[in-house]
């Protein structure tokens, strides 16, 4: 390929029209955006953005139902704690494809990395909305680093991993922009970047569980465990697998026109391969959760209401999807594997909510229920993520390979 041919006139009119507006005039492009899905997104943003402005103007007290007893709400539980787990598809698939050499999963690598990158960016967004004085976020890196804090480690890991994910996704953007030399340079760094990404993910996925090691007495004994970091790490892998299955099924349908007819992707086969992995990881996770229960010795609590809620989580959202995955792989049913994938994702969300919100402060009279403003804000953050994801997938080589870069690292 000649570099001349690939180099577009970056800021010229034709390139912009071709690559940003799908070859339409701006007016035609704007008209093409009027769709039911966009209308829903617009309503959410119109409600959410003023809510966020209100939150910074009037403070957390006016915008949220947080209290002195319940200092963390859904902005931490969902936007941050769930967000990090649900963005685990990036490191899971990158590790499988690049480190373990499972090339069959290549077609879903870039969507997974993009989901991870946007996921982490939105975690940061959610954190900024939740922090009392977010403009002091950089203090932990250079002014007064709290080196004894679990959060210090998580802060560094998330900050570095966001950059790693940016580098992992950069090839798609560079191919789109036609920046050949930088793209080649990045290709030669792939392995190092991915090893760094997996290491950072191991650290902070587990450390998110370590946040709650200092909360015995506040977190219900069925969820409190010295093994919380291990639970969080292992379940982040299952979350990654579940998310990739669900997200690839959705985007396969939504971005059908983006698929490359010259290189058809057998998504069912990929899904069934992931299902096997999901069955094993979830079963291991189920087993270590049982070990946690045995170590705590609190079998008596299983007979309580909290016990029923706990059993629902570990039987209905860990053991059941594990068995469904195994069954789906055996029966070669990609449909069933997708159901199991969805259950897995919901299970990880349920677990993170239980640890950081529902079973936290279980013995306190003043229970937290999110305010409408908190829900709208979280919804807005997710919507922004989906819109950016769609914008990128419709333009850059994400669900299909760039014809000039087939099979390249």
């Amino acid at each position: 390929m000649s570099e001349q041919a690939l180099k577009p006139a970056l800021f010229g009119g034709p390139w912009m029209r071709e690559n940003l507006f799908f070859g339409m005039s701006f007016r035609a492009y704007a008209r093409s955006l009027v769709t039911p899905a966009n209308a829903i997104a617009a309503v959410i943003l119109l409600a959410g953005i003023p809510t966020m402005i209100f939150r910074f103007w009037k403070g957390l007290g006016a915008a949220t139902n947080l209290s002195q007893t319940n200092p963390w709400g859904i902005w931490v539980a969902f936007d941050v704690v769930c967000g990090v787990a649900l963005a685990a598809g990036g490191y899971t698939v990158a590790c499988a494809v690049t480190i373990f050499g499972q090339k069959a999963y290549r077609p879903i690598l870039r969507p997974a990395i993009l989901t991870g990158f946007l996921g982490y960016a939105l975690v940061l967004f959610g954190l900024v909305v939740d922090l009392g004085q977010p403009w002091r976020l950089p203090y932990q890196f250079f002014l007064t680093p709290g080196t004894t804090a679990v959060m210090y480690e998580v802060g560094w890991c998330v900050f570095l991993y966001l950059m790693v994910l940016g580098l992992e996704f950069a090839p798609a953007a560079l191919e789109w922009l036609g920046l050949v030399k930088v793209r080649r340079l990045l290709g030669s760094l792939t392995i190092g970047i991915i090893v760094l990404g997996v290491t950072l993910s191991t650290l902070h996925q587990s450390s998110l569980g370590a946040f709650f090691l200092m909360t015995p007495g506040k977190l219900h004994p069925l969820w409190y465990s010295p093994f919380l970091p291990i639970f969080f790490f292992v379940s982040s892998i299952s979350a990654g697998i579940g998310m990739v299955i669900v997200e690839s099924a959705l985007s396969h349908r939504a971005f059908h026109d983006q698929l490359d007819p010259a290189a058809p992707v057998d998504l069912d086969k990929i899904t069934l391969g992931l299902a096997k992995g999901g069955a094993v990881v979830l079963f291991a996770y189920f087993f270590i959760r049982l070990q946690g229960l045995v170590a705590s010795g609190r079998f008596d609590l299983l007979a309580t209401g909290w016990g029923a809620w706990y059993l629902l989580e570990i039987l209905g959202f860990i053991l059941l999807p594990s068995l469904l995955f195994a069954f789906a792989a055996r029966r070669q049913s990609a449909r069933l594997a997708r159901v199991a994938g969805l259950l897995t994702v919901l299970g990880v969300v349920l677990n993170r909510f239980n640890v950081s919100l529902i079973a936290f402060n279980w013995n306190v009279a003043d229970r937290y229920v999110p305010s409408p403003g908190e829900i709208v804000t979280s919804l807005t953050i997710v919507t922004i993520g989906v819109l950016i994801f769609r914008w990128i997938v419709n333009r850059m080589p994400v669900v299909h390979e760039h014809p000039d870069w087939r099979g390249a690292h």
Binding site: Q68, W72, F100, G132, Q133, T147, T148, M151, A210, G217
Partner: protein, 303 residues
């Protein structure tokens, strides 16, 4: 000591490993090591008459609004908690003494020997000073509210109403202590229920009071080992729960609970990359062998 090459190498290797692991360990130690001279307060609840003079002194010393309903015992009807503008409250116990007297206890920050809040603070906004107080740096706090999540006594309070909120709690009058003064509450206490001094001495004092008056006290010092030990110590003749002092607090120091997870970090950092690179090398080799064998078969087919 005879130093040969082998032992020198061993030493170097050990130093290297310790350097990585030690970085975390030494910083932890600086939070945990309380000076022998660290100050504390002994609260003898059998002496407290519930005058709430400590509340008023606290408000004055910290420039806070006056305590609610001054001099009115009706204030004890409901259980009160500290707030961003109230650093200490006197609670009336739910049980009376054997002689039928009301019992009261002042609650405030316990100034743990190894505080969860300070060890978990990502910007060192909360810091344990060797003298005893857990102090708060208003210019550092980014408002993550993790201190509120981990504090077993529910002490840190947040200014939710503010657009640039801060955490508020009892300071143990750290500024007064620096000038050689006693904390305002202990200075004003008329009944001798609050005694300020070296924590180590106060522990002896508390034990002496319990031993020399058998039957006059519950056989326990609250704060001796709650959350690994607190600067504020309580003795009482009624169960501590009846005085709004939370029961069943973990006896281990809280930072210790997260130690295992934190000490795994250097191992993951040093072991994961070579392990992953090794796996990559294996999978690459496997692909190469598979490709070669594939080519070989194809060639045979051509023959």
């Amino acid at each position: 000591m005879k130093l040969n090459r082998r032992s020198l190498l061993k030493l170097a290797a050990a130093a290297g490993t310790a350097g990585v692991a030690g970085a975390a360990a030494t910083t932890r130690a600086s939070v945990l090591s309380a000076s022998k001279d660290a100050r504390g307060v002994l609260v003898d609840t059998t002496l407290c008459v519930g005058c709430r003079g400590c509340e008023a002194a606290c408000s004055e010393a910290n420039a806070l609004p006056d305590p609610e309903m001054p001099g009115d015992d009706a204030v004890f009807a409901a259980r009160r908690t500290t707030s961003p503008t109230v650093f200490t409250v006197v609670q009336k116990g739910t049980l009376k003494s054997a002689a039928g007297d009301d019992r009261y206890a002042k609650t405030q920050c316990m100034h743990c020997v190894a505080p969860a809040c300070a060890s978990g603070c990502v910007v060192k906004a909360l810091e344990k000073t060797p003298e005893g107080p857990v102090v708060y740096h208003t210019d550092r706090c980014l408002g993550c509210r993790y201190c509120m999540i981990v504090c077993p006594f529910g002490v840190p309070k947040y200014e939710y109403a503010s657009a640039a909120p801060l955490v508020k709690k009892c300071t143990f009058c750290a500024e007064r202590q620096k000038k050689g003064l006693a904390p305002a509450c202990t200075e004003v206490c008329p009944s001798g229920a609050l005694k300020f001094g070296r924590r180590a001495d106060l522990l002896e004092e508390a034990k002496t009071r319990i031993y020399t008056k058998p039957g006059a006290y519950v056989h326990k010092i609250y704060g001796e080992d709650e959350a690994g030990g607190t600067s504020w110590l309580y003795i009482s003749d009624v169960p501590f729960e009846s005085l709004a002092l939370p029961a069943g607090i973990e006896k281990k120091s809280y930072p210790e609970l997260a130690d295992g997870a934190l000490s795994a970090v250097p191992f993951v950092i040093t072991l994961w990359p070579p392990l992953l690179m090794g796996m990559y090398t294996f999978s690459k080799r496997r692909d190469e062998v598979a490709a070669q064998e594939g080519n070989g078969r194809q060639e045979e087919g051509h023959v």
